[in-house]
Subunit: 123 residues, 2 copies
């Protein structure tokens, strides 16, 4: 399933392995300074904004399982199932563009509804 | 980006082309009778349940753009951006297992939050 001949996928998996190990500093090594990320809540621009978006999510992460991962020279597409404190199964998918070993663009898809529901239940 | 050497991806794309053309009958030709689909709202079992899930979505679809599509012998992973009446940009991702030209399992990820918001605005 995982095509390790794909340079983009190697970067995407190294990035995934880092953040799912709670190593946000390590993960950010694979993020370009000028990353653009289209996430469910809108567009994030720049590594600082991206890190601020990821940090709370990584903080509540208890585990993750890779479902599928593919790539070619400059694009990787992964789907995984994250396990978090508020939401037990929170699958997500990322399509990333990789240049020189760094993710320059990310399209990120996940369902915000169970997180919204958990927040409402807690309040 | 699209590896047409992948049998699973050929099926996934034929299925995608059909439902994004509002051809639900044509799309269902690629769905196994005993399909299992893990969707954001829960598990769907069987082609009838799957069709009932897809029909309202296809009914409000105004267009779709494929973002990335990869596959191997039995697995395909696609991400696309659908355009719908209530939500202008509603990206989704599907990881499907294909056996004998039919999708037997689908893991489907999209963000329900904007659809929930549109429903609340309308009510």
């Amino acid at each position: 399933m995982t095509d390790t001949a794909s340079p983009a996928l190697r970067t995407a998996i190294a990035y995934y392995d880092a953040w799912t190990s709670h190593d946000l500093d390590g993960a950010m090594k694979y993020i370009a300074d000028d990353i653009v990320c289209d996430a469910p809540a809108g567009r994030l621009e720049g590594a600082d904004a991206y890190r601020n978006f990821m940090a709370p999510f990584v903080g509540m992460l208890t585990g993750s399982t890779m479902i599928a991962a593919f790539g070619d020279d400059d694009t990787a597409l992964v789907m995984y199932d994250t396990h978090t404190v508020p939401v037990r199964n929170a699958p997500g998918a990322e399509c990333v563009t990789v240049e020189n070993g760094k993710i320059t663009y990310s399209r990120f898809v996940f369902d915000r509804a169970p997180f919204d529901a958990a927040r409402n239940d807690a309040s």
